[in-house]
């Protein structure tokens, strides 16, 4: 084999690797174009702001979820942790008259603790993450109902509204938080030792343990981070609504997984990039936005959004199929 051939081969493979991410980016761009052509209201500043505000929440949770998917696990309790932390912050502010900023900080701390509990039972009792978090989401949701009897907590101090409803220039506050979360997570995943260990664990948990990586410690840490990000999303949502409600985060577990998968994160671990999850979240949010803009019948909305999500997921696997076909056909002289 000549040196030249090897080189082109390398360039070819690395181009293919990148193409996954570019393919998703292209889909997003395409959707933006379609949406702006199809509806004159899409590019309206108020619509875009509300889109970014929605996107921020799915995006944050998606980024968190992608971390777990990278080690081959997932957390279905993210939505319930978010709503419980929102409720806790609401109760501290309204019922106990605590300083609102302190309340929010405490609620976030509780999110960290809830995530840590998830991690603890999953690693120590060697539970399957999906089943364990189905159980835990029941528990967190239940505590929520016991505390609130199903009623919303209203009368949240207005000075926290800015976190949810406010903008910096034209950009909604929650979206800025979402970008900060992404930057921090990307730094951890791409630049630090821990990030490498995350990919190693996702590649092979056994190999990682034999390399001396503290596998369980890192898994627990990720669960805690996921809890923390969930609670952040939860309290921002409280600030957005101006009240704490148990219904917050209902669709987040499924949407966050879908966003990650659309963004090219593998369900089996070791492959993907948290930034992909944000692109995936953007695609999901645009779909939902378009359904509203097109005035789709309210009863059809869920069905339509479901179908479009399946199509969006298919894009990354179709590009994979095409790539395999191409690879098979390539002949070198």
């Amino acid at each position: 084999m000549s040196k030249e051939k090897t080189k082109t081969n390398n360039a070819f493979i690395s181009a293919l690797k990148k193409s996954n991410m570019t393919a998703i980016g292209a889909v997003l761009l395409l959707m933006v174009i379609i949406a702006s052509v199809a509806s004159p209201y899409f590019l309206d500043i108020y619509n875009l702001q509300s889109l970014l505000r929605d996107l921020a929440f799915v995006g944050m949770i998606g980024i968190a979820q992608s971390l777990l998917l990278l080690v081959g696990e997932l957390d279905l309790s993210v939505g319930k942790i978010a709503s419980l932390c929102g409720i806790l912050s609401g109760m501290m502010m309204v019922n106990y008259g605590l300083n609102p900023w302190l309340s929010l900080a405490l609620a976030m701390f509780m999110g960290l603790v809830f995530g840590g509990i998830n991690g603890l039972i999953i690693t120590k009792l060697r539970l399957n993450s999906m089943v364990a978090t189905i159980g835990m989401q029941g528990l967190y949701g239940g505590i929520n109902l016991v505390l609130t009897k199903g009623k919303a907590i209203t009368g949240v101090p207005e000075n926290i509204y800015i976190l949810g409803k406010g903008n910096v220039g034209p950009i909604p506050f929650p979206f800025i938080f979402c970008v900060i979360v992404l930057i921090l997570v990307l730094f951890m995943v791409k630049k630090t030792k821990t990030g490498r260990y995350i990919y190693a664990i996702g590649n092979s948990r056994e190999a990682a343990k034999i390399l001396g990586i503290k596998v369980d410690k890192i898994r627990m840490m990720i669960y805690s981070i996921v809890g923390l990000i969930s609670s952040l999303a939860g309290i921002l949502y409280v600030a957005r609504l101006g009240s704490a409600q148990s219904a917050i985060g209902e669709n987040w577990p499924m949407n966050s997984i879908a966003a990650s998968v659309i963004g090219g994160v593998s369900l089996t671990g070791g492959i993907g990039n948290p930034a992909g999850a944000l692109i995936g979240a953007a695609i999901i949010s645009i779909i939902q936005n378009m359904i509203v803009l097109f005035g789709v019948n309210v009863y059809w909305q869920s069905a339509v959004s479901g179908i479009v999500v399946v199509i969006a997921i298919s894009f990354s696997s179709i590009s994979e199929i095409v790539r395999e076909r191409k690879q098979r056909k390539i002949k070198l002289g």
Binding site: N9, N10, K191, Y199, I210, L211, G212, G270
Partner: protein, 493 residues
Amino acid sequence: MKILEAHNITKLFPGVVALDSVDVSFEPGEIHCVIGENGAGKSTLIKCLTGVYEPEEGEVLVGGENAMKNKSLFDKVAYVPQEIDLFGYMSVAENLFLPYEKSGIKGTVNQKELQKKAVPILEKFRIPVKPEELVKDISVSSQQLLQIARATVHEEYEVLMLDEPTTSLTTSDTQILFEIVKEIKAENKAVIFISHKLEEIFALGDVLTVFRNGKKVAYSKLEEIDIPWVIKQMTGREVNQEQVFYSDKVTDEVLLEVKNLTGERFTDISFELKKGEILGFSGLVGAGRSELMQAIFGYLPVYSGSVTLDGKEWKLGDTNYSVNHGFIYLPEERKKQGILPVLSIRENISISVLDELKSGLNISKKKEDELAQKVIDTYDVKTPGTDKEIQFLSGGNQQKVIIGRAMSCHPKVLVFDEPTKGIDVGTKAEIYRLMKELAEEKEIGIILISSEMEEIKKCSNRIIALYEGRKAGEYDAKADKEAILGAIIGVNS
């Protein structure tokens, strides 16, 4: 008459000519061995002959007909893969007859009837299990034989292709396998036997085809040739078979001391390892060798006993402690426990020493690359670059990367668990030479676990035999092969 033929086939992959104008044919009633180093094109040939790959040029004929036009002809080629791929949670009988359509079972499946039908087949293949047992509960040897039995159940096969069938068989089971293969040959079927083990090829085969770099380089009747000739054809150079690789610089300093260690599959084991020594552990599959080492390493539990390294009390049950304190285990299951498959060679090497590669908070890609390049150069890893995903390297090159990674942690003790499993003769010698060098120059203690008696004898300064989890004897390098063999099968205890 030839039953399976390949005419002038060429198979290309991006950047690689995997098969280059290969002509090969197989006759009924003949055991045709195929040998070649890793990456020589054996696997690609198998995939072309079984219809998995379509070659760019040339044609494959089954019974004289072009099988590329009529894919159903490939059903006459029964292929038994190297790795065991049975359904662990289904019964022996079910595994034997799956997929049911192919075994001529239509409509509903009657378990009792399946089990009745399985009995004569299990007898023919001398598999000592009941048809209703779950596959996960039977021994690895039985699984291997069952896999071969399964391939012969399907319809009218004319060619049986065995890919490294003896890697997980004990010596006595290998004998059984050989008898069975000879019976199949007597039924006038063609047998293709792919193996790295030259002794087995000479014991069993009729003719031999040798591959090197995607080309067929030699074909001969086995009675006309000898082992050195085959090795020369395979590697393109002479390899000295008599060469030994044990360390010449064993010190008196005791490095590792294990006292009365008991764990899940080993009982009351004591031994010492000296600096600069290669200590071999011999035993049958399941004798507890890997379990013992994994327990010292902290991967498996220890019930009682003690370990000291460099005179200091050793903490058990923590792999992180072991790696940081100089005890590294290189696993037998390279694909599952050794490599991080979809990460690059660079990332696979740097993962153990990330602290040393930091610049500020970041991991420096430049330092990472330098380290990876150093490992590639030092250990002669054949790869186009550091960015290649490690799963695309051959087994021997993966092993070298893993050794390089281990050495960059500056270990005191290195455990090699079946380091040459699935690795060809030429690369084997390279791995042996590496072990010798590491023991002599870096003054580390090496523990070698191997099922191959030749390997243990060639490389070890001392040999410890294990039988069913207990120490069955300790021998020096010059000990009698028969004595060690006796110990590992429990004869002289």
